[in-house]
Symmetry: C2
Subunit: 413 residues, 2 copies
């Protein structure tokens, strides 16, 4: 097992070149449950839409040539043959000199090729006077004008929202093939944590990470499997990791990866299959002990125990992997610009991420100030941080008043 | 029943002053399922976090005064009394001149009030030499430093993401009180539509709206109940609307609200209870026939039959109501600026919404061009529109090259 820290950019390169996250298989699901899922294949229309020539106005279906020359002072005179209803096949057909009453959306009856608007006519019994000529196809929406049979309507990879699901319904579909949702097992390690809901033993604190990371998995388009806290024991941990790998497409652990004698997770993960550990420590602050492994085709991320660090590293490295595994593009993080309220220091030689809170200063300018992320702010940071500011490896600090780019955590994770 | 068109702003005012949407009741749910739900009440911590004084470093727990005066050349000499493990109550207590080995996160043993870092010491058997003095509380995170018992940690109304769910887990909670999700019954009317999945009878088209609006309800934080297509018959429609009102907190219909003789929906809705119809037609384009009613405490929105118009009016008027009913703030629509690629006309005296597609022009500037929304673009508009541009009632057109604000539909609806 190696212990050389990679740079942040090297770690990202290893993910794209060696972990190579890609979409899992497909499944067919009911269209009504397909919100926010990703289309597996191009959708081709099996029908013309509309499937018949429709009237786009209320009026009279006619043969256009029967109205040629009609004017205000010289109406064309036609014989009304009845009415065409909406939603039914026409029971009438139109011969020379004939017309049929028609409403918007109703099918054009056989023999007719245009519709005269009702305001351009008057009628008495079966006699219809037309005061304005129409051309062929006037006020007619022809079969297939909106979508042609065989046309590709939506492309593979499209994320399904209200519009897309409406389009699929228009084609008569009630099921749709989508990419499978990646299942991500989430577990916490560490002798100092116990699961929420249980009595808190002396000397322990409640585990945060299995809850926050399970939620982050959901936010990223994955399906979390909460496995809770695993006792800090080699055999138990091995059993839990084997179970996690067997029951999920990806595993997310936290805690137990710093340099102490009890940090078993990376060693055990590495022994579970090939190729094993790919990244074993990253030159970032916070998050240095992060390790990344690939067991068969299943990524295993081992994140730090500090809750904010775990969520930050999840956000930076694991979230894009889950997105790609669910057939989505890895989305850009939302960013906004703000002024640094105070000087923010970097950690020497490490890519530094400073958790920040957005505020308005006296002049109503948007500023950011750092939120305590050390040992004494594990939870308050989670509750207060709006995002983070990145300081490159070769920069010592960001000065007060400098403009910074803030990557937003809310709604982005 | 009245038929006077309201302006768009009047309709919004009626919604806020007469419909008065507000959060429904509360329910307690498992914390692991609380993603994207809204906190019902302030959460107050029932415990100090950390619940005990913890070491923030690896080293030796000592009485600070025993190290006073210690220097590189003149170490303080202490006697090691054993080790304090992480996650367990200390089994040792420290007397004058004594020390205990301790790791990060472990509880400070009784008698000790500071921790010397391991790099400032050396030891041989039970003798410990300390080369640097520590002050009282140095390297100690005191009980309650992060969160104090009785402190309000999260406020009512907060939407629960990964961070918030992590905070609640830290308090030991596994359940949380959230606002109920509004249940919205969605049905389509109109003789020309039939439900997807069934054979398409001659003269009909597949219904889009019950699918697209059900999805839009979900996107807005509501729970849709899909009721499909109701036959265009007075008795059937009445029965369906009564059923919808009985089984949901809100009802969303579409179709059957233009001026034709078969447009029964508003009449029937008005007869179902007090106060009945509040808005009966709005001076907007598209979407003029939109009606809004309140039956008891349940809003009923009747949207146009045209799929894009229905979704647009949902977005403009119904979505904020669903958000408020779910305890959320009515979120601002995301907007971006772009240049109009062509002149866009408004409808005289009506607030006009032009559906548009975003593109890049030759100079890589972001431009928008209108998407056909008439009869012949029912589905292609849904598939292609990225958002809409609003033209005020008193403005005739937006000129080509003018900068416009585009309200984005994707991710916003």
């Amino acid at each position: 097992m190696f212990r050389k820290l990679m740079t942040f950019d090297e770690a990202k390169q290893v993910i794209s070149e060696q972990l190579k996250p890609e979409a899992l298989g497909e499944e067919e699901i009911p269209l009504l449950e397909a919100y926010d899922r990703v289309l597996r294949e191009n959708v081709v229309s099996a029908l013309d839409i509309p499937p018949f020539n429709r009237s786009t106005v209320d009026g009279y279906a006619v043969k256009a040539e029967d109205t040629f020359g009609a004017e205000e002072n010289q109406p064309a005179k036609l014989t009304t043959r009845g009415m065409v209803s909406v939603g039914e096949p026409p029971k009438i057909s139109i011969g020379k000199g004939e017309a049929a009453e028609i409403v918007t959306g109703a099918p054009i009856p056989e023999g007719a090729d245009a519709v005269v608007m009702v305001e351009d006519t008057d009628s008495e019994d079966a006699e219809l006077r037309v005061y304005r000529a129409v051309t062929r196809d006037e006020n007619v929406m022809k079969r297939g004008t909106d979508i042609k049979k065989g046309e590709t309507v939506l492309k593979a990879g499209r994320v399904l929202g209200a519009s897309e699901i409406g389009v699929l319904a228009a084609l008569g579909l009630t099921k749709v093939k989508v990419f499978k949702v990646p299942v991500v097992a989430v577990l916490s390690t560490g002798a100092e944590v116990t699961e929420p809901g249980k009595e808190l033993p002396a000397g322990k604190i409640y585990d945060i990470n299995a809850y926050s990371l399970s939620t982050a998995v959901r936010e990223s388009g994955g399906k979390p499997v909460y496995l809770g806290v695993v006792p800090d024991d080699k055999a138990e941990l091995r059993k839990a990791l084997e179970h996690a790998l067997a029951s999920a497409d990806m595993v997310m652990t936290s805690g137990g990866v710093s340099v102490g004698p009890k940090d078993l997770t990376p060693q055990i993960v590495d022994s579970l299959g090939e190729p094993g550990l790919l990244v074993c420590g990253i030159a970032v602050k916070p998050g240095k002990p992060t390790t990344i492994a690939l067991i068969g085709k299943k990524p295993v991320f081992s994140l730090p125990g500090h809750p904010t660090s775990a969520l930050l590293l999840f956000h930076l490295l694991a979230r894009p992997v889950i997105q790609l595994m669910s057939g989505r593009p890895a989305t850009e993080v939302k960013t906004i610009k703000a002024l640094a309220a105070t000087r923010m220091f970097s950690a020497k030689g490490r890519r530094t991420f400073v958790m920040v809170k957005l505020k308005r200063d006296n002049l109503d300018k948007r500023v950011v100030e750092p939120v305590e992320t050390g040992a004494s702010g594990a939870i308050t940071t989670l509750a207060k941080a709006d995002g983070f500011v990145e300081i490159p490896e070769n920069q010592q600090f960001i000065d007060a008043g400098e403009e910074v780019v803030v990557s937003l955590l809310k709604g982005a994770l």
